[in-house]
Each structure stands twice: as structure tokens, then as C-alpha cells.
């Protein structure tokens, strides 16, 4: 029985999950109270740690099975042909997974240029290796957004089907048209530059006024953040009961609702978008978010807190079908073999899973007006360097 300090008829002020002195509790009750008190820590230990360690251990096993040793700072990764400490691959996965997860994309569009320019992994194998990362990296975020109810499979379905049809074509383009690293980096540069323009433009008053839905969502988000700050809480911009619900579903039309807003989608258009982005993204070896996010924002005015419900499942689907095409379809049909560096990809992916999960937990605390210009400037600078280097050889390596 709980103490009530002699105030009969009043409820005890002791929290329900803290047992009073002298009362024995079972292990289950203790676990329950731990989970209730530290839900994020519980989620991290239950979902993320097994996934991160599992992928890392798989990387170690594959290294010994494929190469007979563990590559790293002393011995190079055979397919990549470069020496890199394993902690650096984990870190690269973490920061690319985190920053890209915040804008609803996979690590690929950052990890691919980083692998080529900083780590000097420039062979064609970098594209399928990057697809290993973009396939595994969103699982952490996927679980995080699913538990946070930022989730709607109807929104993702048609885009994913488009990816299944389009992504097997991309590897053929990569091998026959873009095998030289300089033009390939030029194309990546264009992708980065477009992404940069879109990230920067989204926070301008012109853009926000143009898209009424974005503006109304932003006003609600900012108001909620202000209220949280005034109450001395973490500045969270989304309500605890935030949901993305399907209002109507057919072969032609899809209608969803979120936080008092509604949006309709033309299903064949969604399928076509998924297909085209699938072809381009698998040719480059990225998840496709860099194209999908601007398209969905421009056509439908979706805020990034809703976009992730479509982009994360899309990236996973595109990456696995693209990877199968690189490793199975392409060699079967053409005899050209493009192997990914499995251990390189798995080490980066284990860091990226952690980064993407952390992004899913912190995204709603981070205001778009700071995040997007920052990422826009970084991607724009790298993109410009790649484009310039295609036309005029720069005096330093890019």
C-alpha cells in the first residue's frame, strides 16, 4: 500500500512506477519502470544496439572470409584500394547518416562524395558500396520514425514500386556511360548543387509565402517551439500525438492528413516519380532522397516531418534493387562485374544506422531555418568544386 501521509481519501503523490519502501517488486516491474522512465534509452538498447553491432560484426566476418584479414589503417580495403582506420568509417557513417537523416534522406549523397574525395575511393565499385550504406542506414531512422508515428505506408507504396522498376536500369548507365571518375563527379556535383539550391530556397520568405501549407505548418511548428521554451522544456515543434493518416486510397488517388492539414496525390504521377528517381539514383549509387525530397516538396508542399514517411522506405527499396542489379543482373547480362567493398560498406553502415536514428529523435527539436541553409552551403560548395573540376582541372584533388 502506498503512503498517503495520513490524508485519507487523497491519492498518493508517489509516482506509480516508483515502489514504496519495504515492498518487494518483481524483475518485470523493475524493467517496466525503467522503460517508462527512459523510453529513448530503452529503444536504443532494444533496437539500435543489436542492429549496429550486428552490422559491424558482419563487416568483420566478411573481411576475414573475403580477404583473410581485417583491412584498416595498416592494410588497405582490397576493392576500394585505400587505407582507412575503421573508426573513421564508423564516424563517416555517423555524421553523414545524422545530417542527411535530419532532412529525410539517406547518407549516400554525403558519403559518396566524401568516399571519393577525402578517402580516395574512386573506382566504379564506390556506387554499389554506397548502396550498401543507403540500404542499411535508414533502418535506424525507420524504427525511430515508426515509433514516433511519423509513418504512413500508403504514402510510400507507389514511390517504392517505381523504384523497383527504375533502379535496375541505373547500374548499366554507370558502367557504360559514367565509369570515368571525372565526369561522374561532375554529375554528382550537379546533384549536390541542385540539392543545395533547394535547401537554401526553402527557408526564404518568398518560398514560404508561395507554399501556403508549408507556411501554416511552419507557423504552428514555431509556435509550439516557443511554448516549449517558455515552459523550460526541450524546444520540440511537433505535438506528442502527431500522426500521418490515410483518408482515401484508390488506384488513382491517395489522400493523407496530418496535424489538421490534408494532401492529395495522383498515384500514376507518384509511380513515375519513383521510376525516374530510381534510374538516376541507382546510376550514381545514392538513395534518391536528394531528388525525391525537392520533387515532393515542390509538387505537394509537404513539410520534411511528413516527407520522411515516404522517403525512408523509398531509399531502402531503391538501394536493395539497385544493389541486386549491380551484383547479379549486370554481370549476368553483360559479363561486366562491379563488386562492392562489402566490409567498407558495412562498417560505414553501422555508424550510419546510429546517426540516422539520432536524427529521427532530434529532428523535431531542430528548426529548419538554421539546418537547411547550413547543409545547403556545404553541399553547394562541394558541388561547385566538382563541376568546376570537370571543365577546368583544379590545382588540388577533389
Amino acid at each position: 500500500m502506498a503512503r498517503n501521509d495520513g490524508k485519507m481519501g487523497q491519492k498518493s503523490e508517489l509516482p506509480m512506477n516508483i515502489p514504496p519502501k519495504g515492498i518487494a517488486v518483481g524483475q518485470n516491474q523493475l524493467q517496466e519502470s525503467f522503460g517508462a522512465r527512459h523510453p529513448i534509452l530503452k529503444e536504443f538498447l532494444r533496437d539500435q544496439i543489436p542492429m549496429i553491432t550486428g552490422v559491424f560484426i558482419l563487416g568483420v566476418i566478411i573481411s576475414y572470409v573475403n580477404y583473410g584479414y581485417l583491412p584498416g589503417a595498416d592494410q588497405s580495403f582490397p576493392v576500394a584500394g585505400v587505407r582507412i582506420p575503421i573508426w573513421h568509417l564508423l564516424w563517416m557513417g555517423f555524421w553523414t547518416g545524422y545530417t542527411m537523416g535530419l532532412v529525410g534522406e539517406a547518407a549516400g549523397i554525403f558519403s559518396l562524395p566524401y568516399s571519393m574525395s577525402v578517402l580516395q575511393f574512386t573506382s566504379v565499385g564506390v556506387s554499389p558500396t554506397s548502396l550498401i550504406i543507403t540500404f542499411l542506414n535508414p533502418f535506424g531512422a525507420l524504427l525511430g520514425f515508426w515509433r514516433g508515428k511519423q509513418w504512413n505506408l500508403d504514402l510510400a507504396l507507389w514511390l517504392c514500386l517505381g523504384a523497383v522498376l527504375g533502379s535496375p536500369i541505373g547500374p548499366f548507365i554507370r558502367v557504360y556511360l559514367l565509369s570515368n571518375p571525372v565526369p561522374f563527379k561532375g554529375i554528382i556535383g550537379i546533384a549536390l548543387f541542385l540539392m543545395s539550391v533547394h535547401l537554401c530556397i526553402q527557408v526564404t520568405p518568398w518560398y514560404l509565402n508561395k507554399t501556403a501549407r508549408q507556411r501554416s505548418f511552419k507557423e504552428k511548428f514555431d509556435k509550439m517551439m516557443k511554448e516549449c521554451l517558455q515552459a523550460g522544456k526541450a524546444p520540440c515543434g511537433l505535438p506528442a500525438d502527431f500522426r500521418i493518416v490515410t483518408l482515401e486510397r484508390s488506384w488513382k488517388r491517395l489522400r493523407i492528413g496530418y496535424w489538421g492539414e490534408e494532401q492529395s496525390f495522383n498515384v500514376p504521377v507518384m509511380l513515375l516519380i519513383g521510376f525516374l528517381v530510381g534510374v538516376i539514383a541507382s546510376a550514381l549509387g545514392v538513395g534518391g532522397g536528394f531528388l525525391l525530397v525537392p520533387i515532393l516538396v515542390s509538387l505537394f508542399g509537404l513539410p520534411m516531418y511528413v516527407l520522411v514517411a515516404a522517403t525512408i522506405p523509398y531509399v531502402i527499396t531503391l538501394s536493395i534493387t539497385g544493389l541486386i542489379s549491380y551484383t547479379v543482373t549486370l554481370p549476368l547480362l553483360t559479363g561486366v562485374s562491379v563488386s562492392p567493398d562489402w566490409s567498407f560498406g558495412l562498417f560505414v553502415a553501422s555508424g550510419a544506422i546510429l546517426g540516422a536514428w539520432l536524427a529521427s529523435k532530434t529532428q523535431k527539436f531542430i528548426p529548419e531555418k538554421y539546418l537547411k541553409p547550413m547543409l545547403g552551403v556545404v553541399t553547394g560548395l562541394v558541388g561547385l568544386l566538382y563541376i568546376i573540376n570537370y571543365f577546368w582541372k583544379l590545382p588540388f584533388n577533389v
Partner: protein
């Protein structure tokens, strides 16, 4: 401890900036010692 947690939560919006800064430092380290 509670105060510390509160300050930590208020700093979350700056986390991407911090992570990006560390990423640049690590990249420079790699270029210097592994190229």
C-alpha cells in the same frame, strides 16, 4: 543534474553544427596523414 539535463536539451538545436565541424576536422586529419 536536472539543470544539466535541461541545458543539454536546449543545446540539441546546435548538434548538427557541432557534428559538421568535427567532420571537417577529421577529414583534414585524414588528408594530412593518409594521402
Amino acid at each position: 543534474m536536472g539543470k544539466l539535463k535541461e541545458i543539454g536539451l536546449q543545446l540539441i538545436p546546435f548538434l548538427p553544427f557541432l557534428i559538421l565541424a568535427v567532420a571537417i576536422v577529421v577529414a583534414i586529419y585524414h588528408i594530412k596523414f593518409y594521402w
